[in-house]
Symmetry: C2
Subunit: 244 residues, 2 copies
DNA sequence: GGTCATCAAGAGGTCTGACCACTCAGAGTG
DNA sequence: CACTCTGAGTGGTCAGACCTCTTGATGACC
């Protein structure tokens, strides 16, 4: 309690926990390129022994990385068993957004603005680069929504599929992952809003029309129009479904 | 091995692991709204007893949620000790992107396109909504980069700060978080590229000019110009620093 | 009465060692 | 040759002990 006055600046030492050291070790190998997609991690017991931590610490680290979609574990023996570097970004990102949206860390306006930014890009990319075969899932979702007297739940499902399919057709995986995660995190809130809508048939009809217009723009390879229509569609949807 | 032919469709049962059940339990409380930011979780031992799993399972679940920035643990006793619902989206998102970029799940073009989409939006939002006081950190980063004969590492640091500050000045936390995470995940690759540039002084001067132009557009509250300049700046930077 | 050292309690952090469940490879068997 | 069985190695789970940290109460001392 004495050296506070003008002493040498003591920077707080991190005091890392065991599992954080393990994460850092694995992350280091990944960033260094010595561990790439498909590679196996050593067995938990080995890793624990090598890093001088308990197996519990190793397992906690693996859980965190698994939660981020970086790693994937399989029980069993021989070929295929063990923990491997994976490429499953969706798993982690979706839960991440779902929880933080639910916690109110991001409110509706922010989500809408983000969706607009990402999906404008998706739409433009898809219009420019996607051929008819890439548009097949988009078309399929579009037609599924044309079912007469469709229930909000079903519609919402295909609606999600429609937007997600456009995102992936654009060929940009990062944009697509973020779009998927955001749209997915909004599925339940959107569904609740749809169920509370007074005139569902009317709303449904409008959404259908807008979807068809977007689809046409994509098929016409008109990037600007597709982007504009997508932005208008998203903004209008939220305005209708979440009136203030 | 007999009932395969036209038997009743057996859907695979999930076989969830213990920690996943714990996550689901906590996530359920969050989605239901009974657990919000600042609330404490029961002590690990209690939670384990209530959910009928071992403490290890509870700890693995908490680690996953901590990795996503949903929860935060503090040792000790009394007020302030324990595990709490938190709102730290950055922590998780940054590592997520850093690792997946390193793993090559997202390549450079995809990252650039995403940055353009997000930062165009940030720039426009900032130009529209931010007052001079919100622009202070942007200005500070700008001036820090004007230091003559600045080292690439230092420049890169302030460059990151500049773009991140714009993102936050826009007032959209989701866009800002994603922008921060992406920019941060590119810091090391960018730094490496800057160090390898043949004519650093020249590149540096160009980047400075573009930054100043963006700053002026923001101060002028010209959203369209700010967005256009930002897009051009990002695309040009990558074209110069990562020539093919 | 105030101030300070001390200590107990309660929280997370760690480790150990055991056992279970699953899966594959290969030995053994008809 | 085909099938079955078994062993071994992997992650999954658990129980229990102990450590460290932090707080708040206790009580001695001034």
């Amino acid at each position: 309690m004495s050296g506070e006055v003008a002493g040498p600046s003591w920077q707080p030492v991190p005091r890392a926990r065991a599992h954080e050291l393990v994460i850092a070790a694995i992350e280091g190998q990944i960033l260094a390129g010595t561990l790439t997609v498909g590679d196996p991690l050593p067995p938990e017991r080995d890793l624990a022994a090598r890093l001088q931590v308990s197996r519990a610490g190793v397992r906690e680290a693996i859980r965190v990385l698994e939660g981020q979609g970086v790693v994937r574990s399989h029980v069993g023996s021989g070929q295929g068993a063990g923990t491997f570097i994976a490429a499953l970004p969706s798993t982690g990102l979706t839960r991440f957004l779902r929880l933080h949206v639910a916690l109110g860390n991001f409110d509706l306006d922010e989500v809408v603005e983000s969706r607009v930014a990402l999906e404008r890009t998706s739409a433009a990319l898809t219009a420019r680069h996607a051929g008819p075969e890439d548009l097949a899932p988009v078309t399929a979702a579009l037609e599924a929504m044309d079912e007469p007297a469709i229930a909000p739940e079903t519609f919402n499902l295909h609606d999600t599929a429609f937007h997600v399919a456009i995102a992936w057709a654009g060929g940009n995986r990062l944009v697509a992952e973020m779009t998927t995660a955001i749209r997915d995190s909004m599925r339940l809130p959107l569904q609740a809003a749809m169920r509370q809508t007074s005139d569902w048939a009317q709303v449904c009809a409008e959404l259908r029309t807008e979807h068809h217009a977007i689809h046409t723009a994509l098929a016409d390879r008109d990037a600007d129009r597709a982007a504009e229509l997508t932005e208008a569609h998203i903004r209008r949807s939220y305005a209708v479904l979440f009136p203030r």
